[in-house]
């Protein structure tokens, strides 16, 4: 694998052009931009239904400078399986003579929830592709509903904070670990505040033969209720508070990418976002849930360190 070169990366042709209709401050186009800076091959993109898909392909326009296909919500991984299989056979038959890489994008709804089966199938079958989850922790395209990626205590429109409920009452599913359990050659978690971490991991994912999975924490200012300028800061806080550890699993071996010293308190991460404001409402504070969130983060972190042999 060749080293990353900043000058070259900046000069790269944009895969996703300006003119798409994503919201100001949305992390998804940032994630795509950073991901593609790590790819040095012709790429075909398949996307699940979601904000990114609808906002970049408003007919008769397309913001994609590379071949792009969206079939439906739950089948980006199945769709790219077919594209990749077609590529293999057409290359074998001499009808295509160049090396092409295959990247699927899905939000957490299309990946953690409705698309989990097709993702699992494609990982198990060993197709040579990279699946990138731009994880904003809920269904943003339909208006901030909870998904299985939504964290404990978050106020989402189908797990609303009310007089008798304090937002989502369950922990988020750990999809990165589920992906790793498929024994695929490369799995990673990364965060937008560190573009080099994203690029490096996507580069490794794409250049590793076989299936790879990259989970990118991707803020949605509307759901998270943060200022549009806070994209990088909130990601940094997520990593520093151990809410979102960044790590890699290469051929089954775990590598921690970054260790916050000392870690920030989860409370700091929660207080920075409007989706948790009900937890800190005067007279109705739910510090018990804040403590649960801290305990969950600590537990996850300890498990991860153990896997990293630390």
């Amino acid at each position: 694998m060749s080293a990353l070169n900043i000058k070259e990366m900046i000069g790269k042709k944009r895969t996703l052009t300006q003119g798409h209709r994503m919201c100001p401050g949305c992390g998804a186009p940032t994630a795509i931009r950073q991901a593609f800076m790590g790819i040095d091959y012709p790429v075909v993109v398949v996307s699940a239904t979601g904000c990114m898909e609808v906002s970049t392909t408003v007919y008769p326009y397309s913001a994609w400078n590379v071949p792009f296909m969206h079939i439906a919500f739950e089948n980006a991984a199945a769709g790219i399986s077919g594209v990749e299989a077609a590529y293999r056979v057409l290359r074998k038959k001499g009808k295509i003579d160049k090396e092409i890489k295959f990247v699927a994008f899905g939000g957490d709804g299309g990946t953690y929830d409705i698309g989990l089966q097709s993702l699992s199938g494609a990982l198990e079958r060993g197709h040579d592709f990279t699946y990138i989850c731009y994880n904003n922790q809920g269904y943003m395209n339909t208006g901030a509903q909870r998904s299985s990626a939504t964290p404990l205590g978050a106020n989402a429109t189908t797990s609303p904070a009310g007089s008798r409920s304090s937002g989502k009452l369950q922990r988020a599913k750990d999809l990165t670990e589920i992906a790793a359990a498929h024994n695929i050659p490369y799995v990673a978690q990364t965060s937008l505040h560190n573009p080099f971490d994203v690029m490096k991991k996507v580069k490794r994912a794409v250049e590793t033969p076989g299936p790879a999975f990259v989970n990118i924490l991707t803020p949605c200012p509307l759901f998270w209720k943060i200022d549009t300028s806070e994209q990088a800061n909130i990601c940094k806080l997520a990593v520093n508070s151990k809410f979102w550890p960044v790590y890699e699993v290469i051929d089954g071996k775990y590598y921690l990418s970054y260790e916050p010293k000392p870690p920030a308190a989860i409370e700091e991460f929660l207080r920075a976002q409007g989706r948790y404001s009900h937890l800190f409402k005067k007279g109705a504070e739910r510090f018990d849930l804040v403590a649960d969130a801290q305990r969950d983060a600590d537990e996850n972190w300890e498990k991860l360190l153990a896997k990293c042999m630390r």
Binding site: E53, S81, G82
Partner: protein
């Protein structure tokens, strides 16, 4: 010297054999009774180097059709097969495949939809897909399945059509019964089907295209309209292709097969395997001097309205036998037939029947009784049921 070969085989194996000869680029499939043999046999071909295809053993029917769409849009020639609930699980993706103009050829082995769970034949799986934008062709026997698969590859991929095709056959009755079949040589098939030349393949990274765009009310209608144009071209293009294949096989299948119907007074309209019994009964009645005939509808999408009106014109009575119901509405074939015959100046009386649900057998005596109804002018507003157990009936068919 003939390069043809005669074998004993089944509808499923005939479909699989056609696949071997076609050697499609990609097959993605998932097992479900009674179509399972098709992917099973094909996987065996792939495992033994009899084909150059990529076989993808997916984890569900939904992923099977999704992978087929991906491969087809990529530029590959793609085939698959399924039945019943598998077809229903794919339902979401069928209109997308059609709208992408992905020329997939699909072996649909008809089986009843649950519940209750039943593995035997009726058309309740394919009929809900009649508005999905796919071509639907219903075959009577294994030979017709084989010939139709070859035709369908060309038909689907023709630039005037570019529409996926369901090649339907009756589960177990056609799919599993062995019968004599004439195969073309591998070379003849390869020459006939040629190679796919995709128009806007996703794998052309030098000329990137976007599939599956977000399209609101400004353009959606026009895209649907263009699909209709492709469907409108199906029958004329089919006629060309069928004539071309006839030169090799000596067999020609029109969109509607007319069996002694030209001068008939009374006709039965039916699809797929059960038409064999009807044809036998037509022969028997003809011997008794009764002018009976049969129309076997092969193309259900596009529905050959004009052809049907011409064939049914002037008849004294027509019975439509549906192997599926539209509960609360008119059964699929009956609805099409009534609609097509409405344009005739001289009214043709139509009686609806529902038969064979869940694999209920259809006997010669049933066809006799239908013709008897027509001759005696026994018409009812609601459909009649053939072979249905009424209260206190002894189940002689069980």
């Amino acid at each position: 010297m003939s390069d043809k070969k005669k074998i004993m085989t089944s509808g499923n194996l005939a479909f699989a054999e056609a696949m071997r000869q076609i050697d499609p680029d990609v097959v993605a499939a998932y097992p479900i009774t009674p179509s399972t043999e098709i992917p099973m046999k094909f996987a065996e071909f792939a495992a033994n180097g009899k084909v150059t295809s990529e076989y993808i053993a997916v984890e569900s029917e939904h992923s099977a059709i999704s992978a087929c769409v991906g491969a087809s849009v990529a530029g590959a020639r793609v085939m698959t097969a399924s039945s019943a609930n598998g077809v229903a699980l794919m339902h979401e993706i069928f209109p997308i495949a059609a709208s992408f103009r992905a020329p997939i050829v699909f072996g649909l082995v008809n089986r009843s939809l649950g519940a209750p769970v039943n593995i035997h034949c009726d058309h309740s799986d394919s009929m809900p897909e009649r508005d999905s934008g796919w071509i639907q062709i219903y075959c009577e026997d294994a030979q017709e399945v084989y010939d139709t698969v070859l035709l369908s590859v060309r038909l689907a991929e023709d630039s005037r059509v570019l529409t996926p095709v369901f090649v339907c056959q009756d589960g177990f009755i056609t799919s599993h019964c062995y019968e004599p079949l004439e195969l073309l040589s591998d070379e003849t098939v390869k020459k006939f089907v040629g190679e796919r030349k995709a128009l806007y393949p996703l794998l052309d990274t030098d000329n990137p295209v976007s599939y599956g765009s977000f399209t609101m009310s400004e353009y959606y209608f026009e895209i649907k309209r263009s699909q209709m144009e492709g469907m409108n071209n199906v029958l004329p293009v089919y006629a060309e292709l069928a004539a071309e294949l006839e030169k090799e096989t000596g067999r020609y299948y029109p969109p509607i097969e007319s069996y002694r119907a030209d001068d008939a007074d009374y006709i039965i309209l039916i699809m797929s395997s059960a038409s064999g019994v009807v044809k036998d009964v037509v022969d028997e009645l003809r011997e008794d001097g009764i002018k009976a005939g049969a129309l076997r509808v092969r193309f259900f999408r596009p529905f050959p309205r004009k052809e049907l009106a011409a064939l049914a014109k002037g008849k004294r009575g027509a019975a439509v036998l549906d192997r599926s119901a539209s509960i609360g509405g008119t059964s699929p074939l009956a609805a099409e037939v009534r609609s097509a015959l409405y344009s005739l100046e001289e009214h043709v009386p139509v009686q609806e029947y529902i038969f064979g649900l869940g694999g209920r057998d259809f006997y010669a005596e049933d066809a006799h009784s239908v013709f008897d109804d027509l001759i005696k002018g026994r018409y009812t507003e609601t459909p009649r049921f053939i072979g249905l157990l009424e209260k206190d009936d002894k189940n002689e068919r069980a």
